[in-house]
Symmetry: C2
Subunit: 512 residues, 2 copies
Amino acid sequence: MNGADRLCDALLANGVDVCFANPGTSEMHFVAALDAKPQMRCILGLFEGVVTGAADGYARMADKPAATLLHMGPGLGNGLANLHNARRAQTPMVNIVGNHATYHRDLEAPLSSDVETLAGPMSAWVKSCDAASVIACDLNAAWSAAIAAPGVATLILPADTAWSEAPDTPVTPANRPAPAAFDATAAARVKQALDDGKRVALLLDGPALRAEPLEMAGRIKAATGLRLLAPTSVSRIARGAGRVPVERVPYRIESATTFMADIDVLVLVGSIAPVAFFAYPGQPSLPTHPDCEIIDMAPPGADAVGALAALDTTLDARTATADTALPDRPADGPLTGGAVTALVARHLPDNAIVVDESITTGWQFMDQAKGAPAHDMLDLTGGAIGIGLPLSVGAAVACPDRKVICLQADGSGMYTVQALWTQAREKLDIITIVFANRSYATLTGEMTRMGVPDPGHNAQRMMTLDDPSIDWVSMAWAHGVEAVSADTVQAFEEALTDALAHPGPCLIEARI
Amino acid sequence: MNGADRLCDALLANGVDVCFANPGTSEMHFVAALDAKPQMRCILGLFEGVVTGAADGYARMADKPAATLLHMGPGLGNGLANLHNARRAQTPMVNIVGNHATYHRDLEAPLSSDVETLAGPMSAWVKSCDAASVIACDLNAAWSAAIAAPGVATLILPADTAWSEAPDTPVTPANRPAPAAFDATAAARVKQALDDGKRVALLLDGPALRAEPLEMAGRIKAATGLRLLAPTSVSRIARGAGRVPVERVPYRIESATTFMADIDVLVLVGSIAPVAFFAYPGQPSLPTHPDCEIIDMAPPGADAVGALAALDTTLDARTATADTALPDRPADGPLTGGAVTALVARHLPDNAIVVDESITTGWQFMDQAKGAPAHDMLDLTGGAIGIGLPLSVGAAVACPDRKVICLQADGSGMYTVQALWTQAREKLDIITIVFANRSYATLTGEMTRMGVPDPGHNAQRMMTLDDPSIDWVSMAWAHGVEAVSADTVQAFEEALTDALAHPGPCLIEARI
């Protein structure tokens, strides 16, 4: 048994049985080891951003980490943007990066680079495993770190660690780390604040946004009148009919400041304190009122569900009724982003997974789908565009019995468009809806906001995606995915209902 | 005038007038500043790997750096693989990365990450410019570092540096740094070695591979009988009829060891000492004989042309005759990689630029095009696949009057396929030839070499690109590039001659 075989054994012993991969020459012994384990599902991405984004989507839905397999510093580099998003989503991931043999890596071979330094900023844990004898131990440490953070644990695998002889004793899996305790004094402080007539809001994130914890939060809201908030972007949130709705912190700092102006006490349950997405001249960095008291009851990784249970008890909460309003059906006419999302909300199948990287175009879905059939929603968490298509791949692998609908902005979709090929190869049940507005509309909006309403040639050329327009139907076909284009409400609705009636990947280009 | 305006002035003052870009919200003030400078050419890439690879190709052909514009840590991450290749190619580049405002960057905003740490491994120079008052000074330092290394100088631009008031005095450009001196004692040592009957080879790289220095090297070879070598992959090499041919160090370590077995003295002229691409069990890391003396006459960045002139004088060299053999024209029959490259060599127009990322499929071009019309050839220098299409973009921008032919492997081409859109938008005169073998053939070769001639399901799924096959004609059309597919020698030759007869981008899928 070599180190690579033992690494596979250790992954499987810890329940990691899906590996999203784009290997290279230095990973060939690991590929041979994976080849000997039919219980490991290996899924190829044609670019590493697909690999890391899919591993993120998988873990968000499977509630356990996938492994990745990347090729050295450049392969890791290509995967970093979606590792960034995974870090911001608190996603556990065992990120395996091959490297040169230990004795070769400091020579100036063409592919040499400082893999550990590159991995640092996006990882909760980094280690290079430099001996086959300790590889199971190191994998256990990586897995534990991924669960505990939760986050990305990067295990670097030099080629000679993979090919050298390793012990063939059985691998003992790691013990699952318990989440850190929540602040047990917080519930009483929240009660006191409410008793004092202060205006309180809970900012929920991470495990607090699943259906059952939201039910508790809804009871607490009904009993006390406090507000339930979620960050602008979340890893996963349970929504739809029968689910407790929460208010989202608005993206724009001006709106967020207004939104939070009346909050005297903000209680963090699985979340970090809110921060403006970007700084702007003359605007604050923090949306909370300067006098707002922030109670950090359960930071990311701590027991957010236990925290809600403590509040439920301390505040003597009762049952709340979820908002189950039905979306409006839009009239026929030119297709807009809002019409597309209204139709998605209207036709949403039971228990769907909605991946949202629609950026400026699909934001109305949040309200429109409040009363749609119960569904989970996955967001772009770290602002690093190019996650929608990969995230949908991972979610579909994790939940093969659920329909995945990917709301995909065109500019962002181009970043990791290669994910369409993995959708086709793995025959994943994903409907990708491309909001084709042929621009980086965020940027045109920002330019207007800066007081430049009529940008010139150079600025236009950096914000528009026409000349030529992307042909998304050809793009899908090129990757082996069926596709159709729609530019009216009626055509879009027909395409959507047709897609919903058939399993397997397809793409609808919504020309808005 | 704000910091962004002054940065533009400083770029132009130093002769940097092309900016490959994919900006985001934090770069909007810089975009507004570029917008006010029509003499700056701004070229959008739909993914940052396109941006950095194009800046590499531009500088290799224009002999001056381009600027890039990337969006924060994730945008930099997406560009890292081609920054790695640029670093290995000794390419000067002014790599501008936007970041949060100085007072915002350490808050946990969604896009916050440690940009400086991420930039380090692939950059020769990194600085965050934290005040608008020093931005011209910092740009001059970045430009000088890019020229001196030569390499990637990363200047991080916090948003408040861009929008804050800056001095509006004229910008004084930086002084061009002189290359480091070569080792003046080396020529006499080479002469002594030759006089002692030792077998000597020059390993040429960087500026030593341009036409005139190669002419000197050819004279030296004729006068002394020493060998002329170049690394397996080079940044740029002048080739074809009338040019002095050099031997390339083979890729495989077994072949490279044999190739260098008779060399007693290896003289480095613009190059580093050769190292095996990867380590393998039981194989050496270095291809040179253990007793081989290595004379480091001119390391990368030093005056390699001066070093050749010194050898020319000291060794009393005469004129040599270049090898101008014509390639064979292949018989009709099934299309192979060798047939494709033979036809490219046969039909190569005068003064073409050939970008080679054909990996396993196009290696015969090196011999086949020895006697083709004079041309420049640009290689994948750092082993980080996904540079061919972007490199061709940059080369075509730098040299609008020359035909660019991109020899592109299919697996590598998928990494940065978005570059096709920039080819279309900028109407660049590029013929992309995709070698469609529907596999990562390097990996299947490595697997065989490891003693696994018949890989199983998991391994096959990570090395083959069929099921489904990529449809490259649809892929090109999706990006706005005309395309045709060919699967016989005759059909390919017709497609190639047709493409050569028309300007503008087109793609030929060579189904081999």
